[in-house]
């Protein structure tokens, strides 16, 4: 009989859980920003601090009384780089009208949601895939597209090559995760590079989780690479740089990483390994990020840790929050809090062109024809355990339009 009771108890729990999993409704003066993000998995290194920044900024909005009196609720779901999980989470909130915006972190999520939400005017923010700029719809990238940043990096390469007084073409290798994200920079970025006189080697791709990268690095070195562009999510780029340093390649090849390259924490931990590497970023890095007054205030208020412990992607999360706040404010001013809909917010996102975000990132570039979060990047160099700026904000070329989509 004991087992019968335990089974009945189990079934009762299942029923209770089933009832409990019915999605709740937000109150009338509250809207929801849904963060379908990877707190675990291969991109957690960027997603977790970014989401913390977003959540803390939303807390700050509410502490200031909300946006025109409308409170914002942050809902974070760990999607684990698992499309089934993301889809289930998305559908849980899909028809909750209080959910006005969604942030997603990984490329495969975008592939699925793009098809499913093609007819919906629901704002979805996503890292940097150029296809959302090529086919303007309801997806908004966080900053410049990956190919735009890659193109800006190629501009920097050519300038650096000339500055060193070298002749001929700089030879560039591309070393990235074997995924759509890893390939994305080349879709338009390569065309731009070739146009300005860069010679590209065959790109090298490796699966996420690869412990050693010597074989890929060796091939690029043997092919005569002068520069290697690394596209993967920290700690993977730090590991690539570590392997390159162990092979002595960092002395003869200039490494450049994309947005998700080493953060100040990684640089502080392995200063020798990443020494000299250049990071191209659409948000502030290193001491600039930690000393930024907004980042610092939000961090110390809600994380209650010294700023030294801040990961720079935290500031990027704050930017997501600022952008949502500005769009929400615009939407409320246009139609009033009682008539807020997803479509209204969708219109508002397209009206944010030129909006400043306290200098943590470049001015917003969203418009009816643009889905770029900004069009500026900054170059940093890892130097003696710090990430120091080597350029001011630089306007990125339009590499998306160079690719045949």
């Amino acid at each position: 009989m004991g087992s019968r009771k335990s089974i009945l108890f189990f079934l009762a729990v299942l029923l209770a859980v089933g009832w409990a999993t019915l999605p709740g409704q937000a109150s009338a003066r509250e809207v929801v920003f849904l963060d379908l993000t990877d707190f675990t998995g291969p991109v957690a290194g960027l997603a977790l601090p970014g989401s913390l920044g977003l959540e803390d900024y939303i807390k700050d909005i509410n502490a200031r009384g909300g946006v025109q009196g409308v409170k914002v609720r942050y809902i974070g779901v760990d999607t684990r780089y698992d499309v089934a999980r993301m889809l289930s989470s998305f559908k849980r909130y899909r028809r909750d009208e209080a959910v006005l915006g969604i942030n997603i972190v990984s490329t495969p999520f975008g592939k699925v949601l793009k098809e499913i939400t093609a007819k919906e005017k629901l704002v979805i923010t996503i890292p940097g895939d150029g296809e959302y700029q090529a086919n303007v719809g309801n997806f908004f990238t966080w900053g410049p597209t990956y190919q735009d940043a890659f193109a800006a990096a190629m501009d920097w390469v050519v300038a650096d090559w000339k500055k060193q007084g070298k002749s001929g073409k700089p030879v560039v290798g591309h070393l990235a995760w074997d995924s759509p994200y890893g390939r994305e920079p080349l879709r338009g970025g390569k065309e731009h590079g070739e146009k300005i006189g860069v010679q590209f080697l065959n790109p090298e791709f490796f699966p996420s989780g690869t412990p050693k990268h010597d074989v890929y690095l060796s091939r690029l070195e043997a092919a005569g690479a002068n520069y290697i562009y690394v596209a993967c999510v920290d700690p993977a780029p730090t590991n690539v740089l570590r392997d390159a340093a162990a092979m002595g390649l960092n002395k003869k090849i200039q490494f450049i990483t994309d947005y998700w390259g080493p953060t100040a924490l990684g640089v502080g931990t392995h200063p020798e390994a990443v020494e000299g590497a250049v990071v191209v970023s659409f948000f502030l890095r290193g001491e600039e990020a930690k000393n930024h007054p907004i980042n610092r205030r939000i961090w110390s208020t809600y994380q209650k840790d010294p700023p030294e412990k801040m990961n720079e992607t935290y500031g990027m999360g704050i930017v997501w929050g600022m952008t949502f706040e500005a769009a929400l404010k615009d939407a409320i001013q246009r139609v009033g809090a009682d008539k807020l809909t997803r479509e209204v917010l969708y219109e508002s996102y397209q009206r944010l062109s030129g909006m400043k975000r306290e200098g943590i990132t470049g001015p917003c570039a969203y418009s009816p024809s643009s889905r770029r979060g900004s069009q500026e990047v900054k170059f940093y160099r890892c130097t003696k355990g710090k990430i120091v700026p080597i350029t001011d904000w630089v306007k990125t070329p339009d590499a998306v339009s160079l690719h045949k989509w």
Partner: protein, 349 residues
């Protein structure tokens, strides 16, 4: 099946029937009717959850046949599902076939593909076979990522199924494809395991040498188990691609394959109801984490939403460890005990 007291089988047909009594027929038809009405009466989220559940049941049912019944441990199920999804996308989008033709075809194609993956089972078994199936996963993913026909890293977009002009483009509509398919395939699996083939699978699982000595052709039956298992995975993949409207390799990771094995362990190896128990428990647990995380974050603000939301993987690990230690035969075994105790009631079991 639990046989009610006083019910006698007077013919061979009755003895073989899965549904034995008029009452059971009534219950079955009532259950089917209720199931059919679900998309109309329950919230959208539950319908989408049930779709997800049903596809996973089909997939894990296939795994149950090859691993639970035939004893061939496979970590390739996620890869086989990917093959099903991609083949369905190619059949419908590139070759212009109807979804209704592509559904069985993708199952057959995946089944044939699975024969290649199952071939090592003829020479190796146990842990070694498990490792070989992991290799199958990576090789399959590499092929998908590098072949032109699969759209390489960008995947393939899929149109929703249609029938006489009616488009199955919502979860509620897809429910009427997914749920009957799941029921049909469950019926197929239930019948399969009590046929000569099913008994041969069990014999191979329990002692392959003894089975061979008894005249069971190991080569044939092991490959047949892989074919059937992969057929199920292929059908699941086809349904998944048409539900998500895209086939993309990052939807099918090795982690998924681990989850499917975990579902089998929790539900119970070698049991058809065990598939349902395992899939339902793990999927509900997954959804529960989504509900509990914001509550935890509100109760313990120092946790923040992020660490609280990350409890999903931890919970899965704990549940798996719990079952491996305290109930390695899974929930299906508990279900059998419950049925036995009900049958003997009011006497103690």
């Amino acid at each position: 099946m639990w046989r009610p007291c006083g019910t006698f089988d007077e013919t061979y047909q009755k003895d073989m029937a899965i549904v034995r009594t008029p009452l059971r027929w009534a219950v079955l038809l009532g259950a089917l009717l209720v199931t059919g009405l679900l998309p109309v009466v329950v919230p959208y989220y539950f319908v989408s959850f049930l779709n997800n559940l049903a596809i996973t049941v089909i997939l894990v049912m296939g795994l149950q046949i090859v691993s639970g019944y035939c004893g061939q441990i496979s970590f390739g199920q996620a890869a086989y599902m990917a093959v099903g999804a991609y083949s369905a996308a190619i059949f419908t989008q590139k070759l212009g076939l109807s979804f209704w033709v592509a559904l069985p075809l993708s199952g057959i194609f995946t089944g044939l593909f699975g024969l290649v993956g199952g071939a090592p089972s003829l020479r190796i078994k146990g842990f070694y076979l498990a490792v070989a199936t992991i290799a199958v996963h990576f090789v399959t993913m590499w092929l998908i990522l590098h072949l032109e026909v699969t759209g390489r890293s960008h995947g393939l977009a899929v149109e929703p199924p249609t029938l006489a002009g009616f488009v199955f483009d919502t979860d509620e509509r897809m429910f009427y494809i997914i749920m009957p398919t799941m029921l049909l395939m469950t019926y197929g699996a239930r019948n399969l395991v009590r046929t000569k083939v099913g008994r041969a699978f069990v014999a191979i699982r329990d002692n392959d040498l003894a089975a061979q000595v008894m005249g069971i052709n190991l080569f044939y039956y092991k490959l047949l188990a892989f074919f059937i298992s992969c057929f199920y995975a292929g059908v699941a993949g086809c349904l998944w691609a048409h539900l998500t409207l895209v086939a993309h390799f990052e939807q099918f990771t090795l982690l998924h394959a681990l989850w499917y094995i975990g579902m089998l362990i929790v539900g119970g190896m070698g049991s058809i109801p065990g598939v349902f128990f395992g899939v339902i428990l793990i999927r509900i647990l997954d959804e529960l984490v989504m509900v509990v995380s914001p509550v935890l974050a509100a109760w313990f603000p120092w946790l923040g939403s992020a660490p609280a939301a990350g409890l999903g993987v931890t919970a899965f690990g704990l549940v798996l460890a719990f079952f491996l230690i305290w109930e390695p035969r899974g929930l299906a075994h508990r279900w059998e005990i419950l049925k036995a105790s009900l049958r003997l009631y009011p006497f103690a079991h």
